[in-house]
């Protein structure tokens, strides 16, 4: 809940917007109630056959309520959506700034799902106002207003309205949210299992077919499905009972006010014409209560999202700049000494006592089986992670004494999963250096043999590559990332599996040209391909630290 409060804090200007949205929404509900109550009064009064002129005043009132209800609702919708969208943009920026120092250091490999959930959670939080807070505040305002109006007509009725509405407004959302939470808890495990089973069965469908296990699998899936359905049935029953209870509460409220009103009319305390108004007031006021159960469920979801986001964003950044960073001289080597890394104090060492030296113009290959920590090593060299043992030095200075900015200006890591962003090819390339000229871009593309492909595209360099570079093949994405690395003016390049998605002849050509273009740079090639390693002057081995 504390996380939610922190997320929910609004800047001053936004608080005014929130107040306006609540006022508009409450006004719209009040107008609807006013329409019903005044119509009730109008009809009751008409039945007493007064002067038609007297009725005209009420008729004007009825119409005014009707018109204002629609326009207020329209204004409220715009206002609250505006608020939600502003909040969404703000939350994204805020949590992005907390997140970036944590990636990749705080996350293990395969943290992609975590990131996707983080993004989803941040987006979900923008619902907080639209679906949870505004309805709650509006309900409070309407309950107060309706009770006051009823109290003006008949004090006892006012008390009855206040009591019945408050009871419903507190009980129903609580009940609904609690039951939803319970259903989630009960169903989540089975649902996750079923989804997991389905996904792995589908991924491995051919293998199951070959093993003759398909039918057994289908039966197992049907069992999980049946279990989920059984749980869902019970939960649906409970939820339906709760919503029945809600309607019963509404009905009881109406009856109580009605009986109080009838007695008052009978006793002559209340004018007969006001009875209909009173009854309609109660009926209308429940409109403000109706969205509350959904609001409570929304609040619960938001709280869960807020807690998860908070948990991630409150992590300490694993890598921080020193208070007074030294400056690299720009003319030394990149070295690793006795370097050791593990993910946590309880985890096994991925590697230990690793030694490396890389001078300008030198090509070194780092080979080793997959899963041994080659990529992590690459991240250590550019200080995206911190080693637990040993040190990395640049120009003889420990990278911990340098600004990260300076380290990464000198050493560029082209990761195995280097991202191609959903923008133009040119923007993707210029990421490395904003001021790279047309000729440099062309040369970089030539080097990785993408120049022909780009020329063949209708939009050339301005082609948008699609989400996750989906319009390109894996090999093309990889080569684009290499061209990008080439554009950067780093002194050292760390290339992590640069040719994993290329076929052998192409890989050879690309690497030859790439290494040729890097005559004055130091290049470390991380690979499991020995023919690639053969193109380097030295080969280092990283050996697996687990029992084989």
């Amino acid at each position: 809940m504390r996380a939610l409060l922190e997320v929910g804090r609004l800047p001053r200007g936004e608080r005014r917007r929130l107040a306006l949205a609540v006022a508009l929404s409450a006004g719209a509900t009040a107008a609807a109630i006013g329409l019903l109550a005044s119509s009730g009064y109008l009809i009751s009064r008409a039945a007493q056959r007064p002067e038609i002129l007297e009725l005209m005043v009420v008729i004007v009132g009825v119409r005014a309520f009707g018109l204002s209800r629609a326009t207020l609702r329209y204004a409220e919708r715009l206002c609250s959506h505006d608020l939600a969208l502003r909040q969404l943009a703000r939350l994204r920026v805020r949590f992005y700034e907390r997140l970036w120092p944590l990636v990749p250091g705080q996350l293990r490999r395969g943290g992609g799902d975590l990131l996707a959930r983080f993004v989803g959670d941040v987006d979900a939080l923008s619902d907080l106002y639209l679906r949870a807070l505004i309805p709650a505040l509006v309900a409070a305002a309407v309950i107060a207003g309706a009770s006051f109006a009823a109290w003006l007509m008949l004090p006892l009725a006012g008390v009855a309205v206040l009591a019945s509405l408050t009871l419903a407004a507190l009980t129903l959302p609580w009940l609904s949210a609690t039951l939803a939470a319970r259903a989630d808890r009960r169903q989540a495990r089975v649902r996750a299992r079923l989804t997991g089973e389905l996904v792995e069965s589908i991924d491995g469908a051919d293998e199951l077919r070959m093993l003759g296990c398909t039918h057994a699998r289908i039966r197992a899936l049907a069992d999980s499905d049946a279990e989920l359905s059984r749980l869902a049935r019970v939960d649906a029953l409970v939820a339906a009972l709760a919503s029945t209870l809600g309607s019963v509460l509404t009905g009881v409220g109406l009856l109580v006010v009605l009986v109080v009103g009838i007695a008052a009319v009978h006793a002559g305390v209340l004018a007969g014409v006001l009875l209909a108004a009173l009854a309609f007031l109660v009926l209308g006021a429940y409109e403000a209560i109706a969205p509350l159960p959904a609001a409570a469920r929304s609040l619960r979801t938001c709280a869960a999202s807020a807690a998860r986001v908070h948990e991630i964003s409150s992590c300490e950044p694993p890598v921080v700049d020193p208070p007074a960073p030294a400056r690299p001289s720009g003319a030394g080597e990149l070295r690793a000494r006795h370097l050791g890394f593990r993910y946590g104090p309880e985890e096994p060492w991925l590697f230990d006592d690793f030694e490396l030296s890389l001078a300008a113009g030198e090509r070194v290959a780092l080979v080793g089986p997959s899963g041994v920590g080659k990529s992590t090593l690459g991240e250590l060299l550019v200080r995206l992670r911190e080693a637990q043992r040993g040190q990395v030095t640049l120009d003889g200075i420990d990278v911990r004494e340098l600004a990260q900015e300076d380290v990464r200006r000198a050493v560029l890591l082209c990761g195995q999963d280097a991202r191609v962003f959903n923008t133009t090819i040119r923007e993707n390339l210029l990421l490395a250096r904003r001021d790279a000229g047309e000729g440099e871009v062309e040369r970089a593309l030539q080097c990785v043999e993408l120049d022909g492909w780009v020329r063949g595209l209708p939009d050339g360099l301005e082609t948008i590559v699609g989400a996750d570079g989906e319009l390109m093949s894996g090999g093309q994405r990889q080569r684009l990332a290499l061209a990008r690395a080439l554009l950067a003016d780093a002194r050292f390049l760390v290339l992590d599996e640069p040719t994993a998605h290329l076929d052998a002849p192409l890989a050879r050509r690309v690497m030859d040209r790439l290494l040729g273009a890097c005559a004055h740079r130091g290049v470390l090639v991380i690979t499991h391909d020995s023919s690639l390693a053969a193109r380097c002057s030295r080969t280092l081995r990283l050996v697996e630290n687990v029992i084989e």
Partner: protein, 630 residues
């Protein structure tokens, strides 16, 4: 608003139809109770307001009102319950169909990855690996999306559909009763309904496009954020992470202002709807008032109509609010049907199996499929007994032949294989080499009958594979795919998959033969260590060796190795290569390789290039290797 997909959903799903019937009955009950409540309430207010009746005098009516309110609450609860239950049943049914289809239990597994993946993304996979391995992975992704899509249908079944029924039943009942009580006011109300419906249609049509654009923009924005977040390591490597915060703010603001412009228009239709409802109610109230002054109407009748007015508009307005549930539901259904409509991978040659199969259950033919790509669906399980070919040839003793085989994925132009002639000599190791995407894996799939050729014939010992019982044929084959799938369960369970009766000792022996024993025993719980999604993470090499153990345990006649060393380093590859000769003894082996070390053991090397087979002279080292074995 229902799109064709909705209708299909109802037509094909029995659970959905039952669901709809029950919901309809409850909607009728609910309409009756709404009218009863209005009449009773109007009557009570009339007596009390005009004639100052005491509560005691109205006791009967008040009790009746209480009973109606209670009944309404109960029917409302029942409505909700039946909506949820119906949704659960319909979803369960769809999930089952989807699983059976994707796992191929109905004898018609979808033909291939690229076809599905291509249809889903519309993106070309140019230069991408077109072989079955990676393509199948993309199928898996799509399938997962479809599975989650089933959950997306809940809002449709539990929300939109019941609301649609309610909107059809309740306003009609309300109008009918109001017309009897006060024809003039009812007429006024009735007049507003067509206007209302016109705007509903507008929401459904014009605003739908707008709303969809808005949702698209929203998902675009969301994917931009995700793109940036996922690319953080790259951004940080290029020192661009700080600049992106500004970009995010800018994109967010641009999106906000664009969206607000759209919303101003999109909410207009809701505004008109609302105005219609409110003005309708206000006009009706005024008309009733004037009639009352004239003495042409009783207060009870007037109040009844007034009370019914909101009930007329309520369900109609609700429909508009359920629009997203409907849109999401149809989108989810479309995704699911994209999978269900995949043409099957297996076919039966007309000459052998036509008589029975032509009349057998035929999946709804996909509209988009070109005629030649949509062969008849044949259930091989049912096909076999009708064919009278109980003999299943033994691939370890009889050669497997491909004759003039073409293959192309349904729904996707271009042949993967073209006039392939190939023979796997019995008891020998045949290696297929060639670039990725050349069609090597497809050949293996044809031999394993995971797919049937578009033209030509695959046979063993002279018998067309399509005429052989598919389960019995596959039972003779062990396959180690490129990226073996481990299923949630223990290591032992994974090895035992497909040989359920194997005891612990045999499992252990298989693991030893696969070179997996050492690392398995190094795991915390040995053979009982859970693997898969929630279990321990195994390296590619370890997974490969578990799959190998699985294959060994099957004691198959034909072994198919698909790039067994693609994801291994040299030591790992060498270890697999060492195991190969012993595994091949007494069996026929099909080896798909790009690694020279493995190909050394082959008796015959066939190079596949652009879907064509080129025989390569047997490499000398292989002869030596085999000589040693012999």
């Amino acid at each position: 608003m229902p799109a064709p997909v909705d209708r299909r959903l109802l037509r094909e799903s029995r659970a959905a139809r039952t669901h709809l019937t029950l919901v309809g009955a409850l909607a009728l009950a609910s309409a009756a109770l709404i009218v009863a409540q209005a009449v009773l309430l109007a009557c009570i207010i009339d007596r009390a307001a005009l004639r100052h009746a005491s509560a005691a005098a109205l006791e009967g009516k008040l009790l009746a009102l209480g009973a109606v309110l209670l009944a309404r609450a109960a029917v409302g609860g029942g409505f909700e319950l039946s909506a949820q239950l119906g949704a659960s049943r319909a979803m369960s049914e769809l999930r089952g169909r989807l699983a059976r289809r994707l796992l191929g239990a109905d004898g018609a597994a979808p033909a291939g990855g690229p076809a599905i993946a291509g249809a889903a993304t519309g993106g070309p996979a140019t230069g991408g690996p077109g072989s079955a391995g990676p393509a199948a992975i993309r199928t898996g992704e799509l399938a997962a999306a479809a599975v989650q899509g089933v959950d997306g249908l809940r809002a449709y079944f539990a929300g939109y559909l019941p609301q649609l029924v309610l909107a059809a039943v309740v306003p009609a009942a309300v109008l009918a009763w109001a017309a009897a009580a006060d024809p003039i006011a009812a007429g006024l109300l009735a007049l507003t309904v067509p206007i209302l419906i016109v705007f509903m249609v507008l929401i459904g049509k014009g605003a739908r496009a707008q709303t969809q654009r808005r949702w698209q923009a929203l998902s675009l924005l969301s994917s931009h954020f995700l793109d940036v977040v996922r690319g953080l390591p790259t951004l940080r490597a290029h020192r661009r992470e700080r600049a992106q915060a500004g970009m995010l703010a800018e994109v967010g603001e641009r999106y906000r202002s664009e969206t607000m412009a759209t919303l101003r228009v999109a909410f207009l239709s809701a505004l008109v709807l609302e105005l219609c409802a409110m003005v309708g109610t206000a006009l009706a109230a005024a008309t009733i008032g004037v009639q009352l002054v004239d003495g042409a109407l009783s207060l009870t009748a007037g109040l009844t109509v007034l009370l019914l007015a909101p009930e007329l508009y309520g369900p109609l307005r609700q429909i508009g609010q359920q629009f997203h549930a409907a849109a999401d539901g149809t989108a989810a259904a479309a995704r699911i049907y994209a999978v269900l409509d995949q043409p099957p991978a297996l076919q039966a040659p007309a000459s052998v199996a036509a008589p029975r199969l032509a009349t057998s259950r035929v999946a709804a033919p996909p509209r988009a499929a070109p005629p030649r790509a949509a062969p008849r669906v044949a259930s091989p399980r049912r096909a076999a007994p009708g064919l009278g070919t109980p003999r299943v040839p033994d691939p370890a003793r009889e050669p497997v032949r491909l004759r003039a085989v073409d293959y192309e994925y349904p729904l996707r132009p271009g042949r993967v294989l073209e006039r392939i002639d190939l023979e796997l000599a019995a008891g020998e190791i045949t290696a297929l080499v060639g670039r990725s995407g050349a069609g090597k894996s497809t050949i293996a799939r044809l031999i394993m009958r995971l797919a049937d050729p578009s033209a030509g014939e695959v046979s063993c010992g002279g018998a067309d594979l399509r005429a052989i019982d598919v389960e019995r044929w596959r039972a003779q084959i062990a396959w180690v795919p490129q990226r073996p799938q481990l299923f949630a369960g223990t290591v032992a369970e994974n090895i035992r998959l497909g040989a359920g009766d194997a005891d612990a000792e045999r499992v252990r022996e298989a693991a030893r033969a696969a070179g997996a024993l050492a690392f398995i025993e190094g795991l915390a719980q040995g053979f009982d260590t859970p693997v898969g999604e929630d279990g321990v993470r195994l390296s590619a090499g370890q997974r490969q060796r578990i799959a190998l153990a699985r294959a060994i345990l099957r004691d198959a006649r034909l072994l198919v190795f698909d790039e067994p060393t693609a994801h291994l380093d040299e030591t790992g590859a060498a270890r697999i290569a060492e195991l190969l000769p012993a595994l091949a003894a007494g069996r026929t082996v099909l080896l798909i390789v790009h690694h020279p070390q493995l190909a050394e053991h082959a008796h015959r090397l066939v190079r596949i290039e652009h879907g064509r087979a080129l025989e390569t002279p047997t490499p000398a080292p292989a002869t030596r290797a085999m000589a040693v074995l012999a």
